[in-house]
Symmetry: C2
Subunit: 713 residues, 2 copies
């Protein structure tokens, strides 16, 4: 029997099993991040009845395990469950939500295995646990439910499916139990908003975080790093942040988190020289502490039973361990102006390319075990470093390779050693279901085409980054396409006011800045649009005895395109493609750079050249653009703002601004402007910025220019 209690507007909680014990034994994702639900914002969300009775969610014992059983409708789709790379709709799959640094198979394992799903019927469910949760997302059929389904003959019946349509979700809880939360909609996007707001709201990065990032090769000296940074200025490529990779430490793999005297003899001077040129510095690190670290001996007693690469794995659920880590990072890095971190390898799983992680049976001084520590390690590092910057009053933005539930308020973007471009694009969509951000980082390319396509994708993602740590690439590595790459990095910069506003909506309303199509269109709308497709959808099971002996489903998921904010739709291309289909929501759309006009509510086909990523803007929208810059303006500096209005119809929009660097926005030091364009007479347009903006002025902009009724920028 599950006892449900509404703990926040539209959020119900049931505690199952000996959760008190679980609370003692280890942190859960929600407890680890510890953010307060944004109740006020949640109250503004539409009220909605749940699409299922809470009483229909039952719990039962099966083979010594506690199973949460949730009814499932015939056509229901299930999204989320973390940073999934292989598919968007997880219906019919068993998702084994274990953190895995090398998630090459479609098992559910991933860098960020979030036990939260969204049903397109309009609700979401979270299991708040530090353990591996298995969600049978409609992949299991009990005997008593089997009678209701058609048992088909694979050989003679084309409708046979390798995975049958089940009528329940079965969630396997850990032995000690867990808290289960249900989130209301009504729409899937509202479920996601409610989840994000419940977890503390979305993160608002500093403005520079939305500029271009470059990570220099490992083992670079300070002078090499500075030279490489300056090359961006000389070659007219915008760049805001330089990341240092292994080599800045005195020792690494395991790490000291202390500077190499040989390669960085004067770190403070180096950081300040970089700042002088408009660059922030981000530091790579991982969790495993070298015997050469000055805090090694103190941390050793606070560490797990097993080592990694010879380094200790500290138990950061202990306040003393956190204090040591934070103090070291404060003194060594934050105090001299380091802007943030890349938190690598906190996603270790021993079942990878190499075995290097502490085992599940490792013990930690707090009583947590290796399984729990692995599931939460990424969150712990996010939380410690986020707190560090919050204490200084400056925002950070960085990279992390492991996450879990409750991470929407963390200033971190996920990345991976994987490199399939289609998977990288899909992950932009899938991250949006679970309060995650993801960068399809560029490292290298097969050829110039691949290079351009990857650069275009990353410029329309939460972090536009080239990670040259192992390949030594630079944005101009393929000279024949250098202008295209420069163009998109600059366009990314110019769109800062637009991106920043999208992130402000993430923070305040919980709306992901990058959104998968099921958060934009209903299933019915998508089906209707598909019906207008130029080519029939291929659906079926294609047999391949050496790769897909049970057949391969070919249902189009629209997981290769996504919305950015409310006005732009990106549909990246991958190398080898000369054309693609795009699902356009209803309304009139324009090619953002081409001006071509499209009627939405259908699937269109585009054939962009290599110099274009398909980008679409909705008619009536107002896109704010910043003047071209090599890096973000400093706090207080002002730049020109261009407000571009699209199409021959009136429109409205919003623009957010604040100082871009501090947390003063939380004290009201921020501004929301309403933008409106109206038509006075034929061809005579009028643009208005709301009174508030005129009174207090924007933080970063002056010289506001309007462009009306455009069809492209």
């Amino acid at each position: 029997m599950m006892l449900w209690k509404e703990t926040a507007p539209g959020v119900w909680k049931a505690s199952i099993g000996d959760v008190a014990e679980e609370q003692q034994q280890g942190l859960t994702p929600l407890k680890c991040i510890g953010a307060s639900p944004q109740v006020e914002a949640m109250e503004k969300l539409p009220h909605a009845a749940l699409p299922l009775e809470l009483a229909s969610i039952v719990i039962h014992e099966s083979a010594g395990r506690r199973i949460v059983s949730v009814p499932l409708q015939q056509a229901e789709k299930l999204y989320g469950m973390g940073l999934q790379f292989m598919r968007m709709n997880q219906r019919g799959r068993t998702r084994y939500l274990r953190v895995n640094s090398d998630p090459k198979q479609d098992t559910g394992e991933t860098h960020a295995p979030v036990p939260f799903y969204i049903s397109d019927s309009g609700y979401g469910l979270l299991v708040d646990s530090s353990r591996i949760i298995t969600i049978h997302a409609g992949s299991t059929l009990r005997q008593e439910d089997t009678a209701a389904i058609a048992v088909r003959d694979r050989n003679t019946d084309k409708a046979w499916q390798a995975t049958l349509t089940a009528s329940r979700i079965e969630i396997v809880l850990p032995a000690e139990g867990a808290d289960v939360y249900v989130f209301a909609g009504p729409a899937p996007a509202d479920v996601v908003r409610r989840y994000n707001l419940f977890c503390g709201g979305g993160i608002l990065p500093p403005k520079w975080g939305l500029g271009f990032w470059h990570r220099v090769p490992k083992m670079f000296h300070a002078t090499e790093a500075l030279d490489e940074a300056l090359a961006f200025r000389h070659r007219d490529f915008p760049c805001d942040c330089i990341g240092l990779e292994p080599g800045w430490h005195s020792k690494s793999y395991p790490v000291t988190n202390e500077w190499s005297e040989e390669r960085f003899p004067d770190p403070a001077q180096f950081v300040s020289a970089m700042q002088e040129e408009g660059f922030r510095v981000n530091l790579w690190e991982h969790p495993y502490i070298s015997p050469d670290s000055r805090i090694y001996l103190q941390l050793k007693a606070l560490s797990g039973s097993h080592t990694v690469w010879g380094g200790i794995a500290p138990d950061y659920s202990l306040p003393d361990a956190r204090a040591l880590y934070m103090q070291q990072h404060q003194q060594e890095h934050v105090d001299i102006g380091i802007a943030g971190y890349k938190l690598d390898e906190c996603d270790g799983s021993e079942l990878t390319n190499h075995s290097w992680m502490f085992p599940a049976h490792a013990t930690f001084p707090s009583g947590m075990d290796g399984e729990q520590m692995r599931q939460l390690y990424g969150l712990m590092f996010q939380k410690m470093t986020a707190d560090l910057y919050r204490n200084t009053g400056l925002r950070t933005y960085g990279l992390v390779r492991a996450s879990n539930a409750a991470a929407s308020s963390m200033p971190y973007v996920l990345y991976s050693d994987l490199y399939d471009h289609k998977q990288f694009i899909r992950a932009i969509s899938n991250a949006s279901f679970c309060g995650l951000l993801w960068t399809p980082e560029v490292r290298k390319a097969q050829n110039a085409e691949d290079w351009v396509r990857r650069m275009q994708s990353v410029c329309f993602s939460p972090m536009a980054m080239l990670n040259a740590w192992g390949d030594g690439t630079k944005p101009w590595s393929y000279p024949e396409v250098e202008p295209i790459v420069r163009h998109y990095i600059k366009l990314r910069m110019r769109l800062l006011p637009y991106f920043y506003t999208a992130f402000a909506l993430y923070r305040e309303e919980g709306t992901p800045p990058f959104r998968a199509m099921p958060l934009v269109m209903t299933a019915a709308e998508i089906t209707q649009a598909e019906a207008h497709s130029q080519q029939a959808q291929t659906v079926g099971e294609i047999l391949n005895t050496s790769d897909a002996a049970y057949g391969k489903r070919t249902i189009r998921e629209w997981d290769d395109q996504y919305m950015i904010g409310d006005s732009l739709l990106a549909a990246p291309m991958v190398a080898g493609e000369s054309e693609r289909e795009v699902l356009l929501p209803s309304g009139i759309w324009y090619g953002f750079e081409t001006g071509e006009r499209y009627t939405g509510g259908q699937v269109i086909r585009v054939k962009p050249g290599l110099e274009r990523i398909p980008l679409f803007v909705r008619e009536g929208e107002i896109i704010p653009l910043m003047a071209e810059r090599s890096h973000m303006p400093k706090c207080g500096e002002r730049v020109q703002l261009e407000l571009v209005h699209f199409g021959p119809v009136p429109g409205t929009g919003r623009l957010y601004d604040d100082d871009g660097e501090t947390f003063d926005y939380e004290k009201g030091e921020a501004i929301w402007c309403n933008l409106a364009v109206t038509q006075q007479a034929e061809g005579a347009w009028c643009g208005e910025i709301s009174a508030a903006a005129r009174q207090t002025e924007l933080y970063m902009y002056d010289d506001i220019r309007w462009r009306f009724a455009q069809v492209h920028i």
Copy 2:
């Protein structure tokens, strides 16, 4: 504290935890197969002290789990742990021994996850459990052991390794405990022999099982199957067994195990027509019973909580369920002459290509759960069908997709939907460590070269088979290479006396008929031979940011060649290779078909044309060959035997024979001949067959011809 007791010669057992409860709750692999240790044969194995003190194997609790901790020497190598596809030496890896039908990553999961390893120091260890066992095979380092290892800097120290050299194996036992067995050597091959004999000895297939197999396409009618079989005769391709794939059932996926009246109107007549032409018939099936089966309702009450493809999953740990299954199979198949089965999809794991398996939390009437049933399902089917044929007095030989420990006495060969040719070759070696047999079945090819290379490999494996179920291929599918394929299928047939003798040694002495190199040469011998290699061994960590960010080890494992019996060494080629290295054990060797002479104890390089698979025979050996045949002689029929002696030195050999079909060999109806070749005078050789053979005569051979001092056949 582990209490060890010697339970068989050179085998010690310790029971850990509440094994009595485990015995009640579910079967273990050893209990499931229930074979008696071949104590007499074990006593003939060399006596050896264990290379480690049993007292050094300790058990401790860690994070609520029972861990068996075994000391590990610096250079020790660890083999086995089931049908591993990705590597041979498992040292440094965590092996998660879960049955998995789609084992595409190097996690330890596989079709046959045997919790048994062999250390090259000369002992083996088995955990006899129905649960998933995790073996940290030197992949974990405890804090207290870390001091002893060198903590290196990845960036500056070339000796840095992603996986450190640990000093213990850590085995995670199931909550209820398990029986642990340690097997003595002295050599790794003796460990394997002892393990196989302890499990009942190796299987001796019927002679026809060692002929060529062809599986016809799914949905074939009886007439189509017969026509395809006859095509082998018309085209002069030997073939002994035709397999029927999905379509012979009245319903399949799930199955009825009853004949389709449409496609097989008179099954008995079909089988007898096939037998007339010298073909045995093998039937594909899987475990999940269709509602259309006549025994469905009876089995339903004896089945698990969850269904698969709409079919029930019977609990065959229950005698009643076994009786229903066996009775049905007896009447429907065995009584009309069906020769055996292909037991498909008993290796289901829900984390695959498609989710179709019952979950780990499924319950079964016996009290077993889904995890246990999945781990043992393959063994249960092997045992039931083996018993069925034993009851009839006729041997069977077939295919199974799941296995576990204790399977050496089962008449089954493993196969997979995977298709990487190098992995397929490696699995021949890896199967030999754990009492398993494996076929690198051929299904289709990229091109004629690939076709030939795969056909060559499969002809030198435990089952020479073309599986055309989904691709409709035939041995003559690539006409340009048809003669090469025919040649090797015929050579396979001619080698029957040799293969059969190798299997007899498997049965009686536990020696695998196909053997990995570490069961043939010591680590020191291999190192010495490598020192004589024509090219230096490349050892190191090659970095690739998109595929091997922690580097890729390039140690040559010699997992692409293997011994067949005591005299032949096969070193298959794969498409795209024009030459390869071969590690030859000491002694003089000849190219079996080329006559080239090689000095062993070194690595040689060969450049065979497409028409040759590198095959080597040791000087002095005597290879028995049968006269060319299109299929195996019937019981009682006699054929010519050729005894080919190699090189200009005296030699000895052995030859086994029996009726080839029944179990009468267990009653002494069998013959072992000692073969000897001596030199009377320069060029005058004399061959002798031991008295026993002359007295009782061989079962299948007359007209024995000798060829002496040959350099090729």
